[in-house]
Symmetry: C2
Subunit: 133 residues, 2 copies
């Protein structure tokens, strides 16, 4: 494995992500980081996001359609995903601690984590479809 060196860009990417409570895509984050680093490249954003995911400092959410999203909150929690607009929200709901445990026995204890996504239509989108109907 290689030595990790400090980089202002990585620091900024992490800070930005921690500060937000939405679940931005790499591109959204890129836009926002360009305010501080106008020359940063999307490739650098991806590289650092993947690095931070590997270090366990952030989480990547692959919730179906659209690009992956990133989450600065690594504590166990659930997400609600809107089928229409793709937005992702945290559910303020206790995660089932038992679930990993319960699943372990079905695959010889090889599980290290799990992710649960709830799907539906968000408030905004259900308003919109009510209007157009």
């Amino acid at each position: 494995m290689k030595a990790l060196k400090y980089s202002r860009q990585r620091e900024c990417i992490k800070d930005c992500l921690m500060r937000r409570h939405d679940h931005p895509t790499a591109d959204t984050l890129y836009m926002s980081i360009r305010e501080e680093f106008p020359n940063i490249s999307l490739g650098t954003v991806y590289r650092n996001l993947n690095l931070l995911v590997d270090l366990g400092e952030i989480r990547k959410l692959s919730c179906g359609s659209g690009p992956d999203r990133f989450d600065g909150d690594t504590s166990p929690h659930y997400h609600f995903v809107c089928r229409e607009c793709g937005e992702v929200e945290d559910l303020p709901m206790e995660a089932f601690q038992d679930l990993n445990q319960a699943a372990q026995r079905y695959c010889s204890g090889r599980i290290d984590s799990h992710a649960t996504y709830f799907y539906g239509t968000c408030e905004n989108c259900s308003k919109k479809s009510a209007q157009s109907a």
Copy 2:
């Protein structure tokens, strides 16, 4: 909405998927279907898979890395995803029926489904890394 017409290709795609108990990607399925329809195109495979998903006859699994996978089993069940090779297996474990219910109250009953993925290293991959170590 448009009228749905029969197509031999769609029939074959569905049959193929139902017959398998792995969770093939569109491309894997395409390879396998070409034995029966040598001229079928990948676009047709994608079009029909998406159609079948919309009809609720099959499920699409987006489990993180690599291309989406498809599942002919629409009953509620959990999946184990190998971080190294990306393979997906069913967990022969009862799904928590309560989970949707429990989550509903946190987003005004807008949830229509949920998906849970367990992550770890599969048997094959853990053997391999043991060998190379």
